[in-house]
């Protein structure tokens, strides 16, 4: 006997399956969240783990409210987010400009090649003490850390994408008598736009590293300072609070950049 196929019914079933899967995924994500914090709370209160070192969620929560009340938290949070954003923007913009200069002069790029390799291999946070001595223990050196950590890798990635632009596009422009600047403006830069945007996502993560390490070293204000201070006075509740805040705000920033990336790339490809 031939089976009768009802496409509408099948489609409805398919959609139901998708929806139910989504529900279950969310359920387990939520479960992990609850389980993690409950276990942390219980384990610490029962002294399975040392509450002095690991603290526990309700205690962190109390501290959070306390810090909001005396408004010191906002200063630290604001400072760190500001430094990260600026370091991230500077790193991306300067890296792209450097890539443009290298593209402009192939001779210069050949000369600088080994130095780029060295600078890229070098762990940038090791430059921290020098930056602080050079730029003073404050904003400037922390922002410089946030920028310097992403600038070389941005240069290398963007420069590679500049060079991979199909030569035939340049040929089209050159037969129209385009100057080198016009080649850059009409073909090189727009063709590399998706690459530049995707470096944003990497750079936002790197900038957090640079800024937190910078704040460790400068030890004046910010979430990095809160961690180092908490560590020194053995207040690990404060350390945990800072870590949770960093996790939340780094995620938010990453998500914003991801959203921006989707939107910009869609505009490019539209």
């Amino acid at each position: 006997m031939k089976k009768i196929i009802d496409p509408n019914l099948l489609h409805r079933k398919y959609k139901q399956r998708l929806a139910s899967e989504k529900k279950w995924v969310f359920f387990y994500q939520f479960l992990i969240f609850i389980a993690f914090f409950s276990f942390w709370e219980i384990a610490s209160r029962q002294h399975w783990i040392d509450p002095l070192i690991f603290s526990y969620p309700t205690k962190v929560g109390h501290l959070f409210i306390e810090k909001i009340a005396d408004s010191s938290l906002f200063t630290h949070l604001g400072v760190t987010v500001f430094e990260t954003l600026l370091g991230f923007i500077l790193g991306t913009v300067l890296g792209t400009i450097l890539a443009a200069i290298l593209w402009w002069s192939p001779f210069l790029s050949k000369i600088l090649d080994p130095y780029l390799v060295i600078l890229n291999a070098m762990p940038k946070v090791a430059l921290g003490p020098i930056l602080i001595v050079g730029l003073g223990p404050g904003f400037t050196s922390i922002i410089a850390m946030g920028a310097i950590i992403s600038i070389i890798i941005t240069t290398i990635v963007v420069y590679t994408s500049f060079r991979e632009v199909d030569d035939n596009y340049l040929k089209v422009l050159r037969t129209f008598g385009a100057a080198r600047g016009q080649l850059f403006q009409e073909a090189i830069l727009p063709a590399s736009f998706p690459t530049i945007i995707s470096t944003l996502k990497v750079n936002v993560g790197l900038s957090w590293v640079g800024v937190i390490v910078g704040e460790f070293l400068v030890s004046k204000e910010g979430l990095g300072y809160m961690i180092i201070y908490g560590f020194q006075v053995f207040n690990f509740t404060l350390v945990m609070l800072s870590l949770l805040l960093i996790a939340i705000f780094a995620t938010i920033m990453y998500k914003v950049v991801e959203w921006l990336e989707k939107k910009l790339i869609k505009d490019v490809e539209k």
Binding site: N168, Y169, K171, L173, F176, G177, E186, K270
Partner: protein
């Protein structure tokens, strides 16, 4: 003096380990309004010749004049069409077509209107605001023709512009390009490895031999084939005769290599 004069042109390519002679003692002249095909096996330097004519780089030795001037990409003398359309994917069709005018600083209402008029003439009305990927391969190559024609070049250089298209589209576009060039009385040089295309479109065919590239033979296309559109040329008797002649010549070249 002819419209285009090439005298004793030779060209070398260098790499650290080799020096390759791409062209050897090339001399020819082309009259205004003529359609010439450069035919030959791969590696015979056809595309090198075309790039030199376009002024993209100078030949190692020899001289070239186009309308009494040395070739120069900046002089708006030349229109170049590539194997693929190479329309800029992030620009609309309109922006793509205005590109040459914009780069030359000649973009104004008048040149814009004439470029758009041409677009309409070749059957691409209503796609001005669309992006290249929304168009079919044939439409895109037509848009590329419009981009080339927009700057009103005196000499058109066609680097296998139909090779990436399916056969049907290719035949249609050959007719379109042929008629357009006739109508605007343009001089053109076509690089191709398709004998049929060379015969059906040109007034003369320069057969190149490879390694090093030099002109092996020149074929004059009979008058009765010159004035017929490429599609109709293919059904003429004289077409088959000349096809056989060129074919044999090309075969003998390949055997010698």
């Amino acid at each position: 003096m002819s419209f285009l004069e090439v005298k004793h042109v030779a060209h070398f390519y260098f790499s650290p380990s080799t020096s390759t002679k791409a062209l050897e003692d090339i001399s020819f002249s082309i009259e205004e309004g003529e359609f010439i095909s450069l035919l030959g096996p791969s590696g015979c330097g056809k595309t090198t010749m075309l790039s030199i004519l376009a002024g993209l780089f100078p030949p190692t030795s020899g001289s070239i004049t186009i309308d009494h001037e040395a070739p120069d990409a900046n002089s708006n003398l030349i229109g170049y069409m590539l194997q693929q359309d190479y329309l800029f994917p992030w620009k609309t069709i309109e922006e793509n077509i205005f590109l040459g005018l914009k780069l030359n600083g000649r973009l104004n209402e008048e040149t814009k209107q004439s470029a758009l008029h041409f677009l309409k003439q070749i059957g691409l009305e209503g796609v001005e605001k669309q992006f290249p990927r929304q168009l079919s391969g044939g439409m895109r190559q037509r848009a590329a023709l419009a981009r080339t024609m927009a700057v009103n070049p005196k000499l058109l250089l066609l680097d296998e512009p139909f090779s990436a298209l399916d056969y049907q589209t290719k035949l249609k576009l050959e007719d379109l390009v042929f008629e357009t060039l006739r109508e605007y009385k343009k001089t053109a040089v076509l690089v191709t490895h398709d004998i049929g295309e060379a015969i059906s479109m040109s007034d003369r065919i320069f057969l190149f031999s490879a390694k090093p590239g030099r002109i092996h033979k020149v074929f004059d296309i009979p008058k009765e084939l010159r004035d017929v559109t490429p599609f109709n040329v293919r059904s003429k008797e004289a077409y088959n005769d000349i096809f056989q002649t060129v074919w044999k010549e090309l075969e003998s070249l390949e055997e010698n290599n």
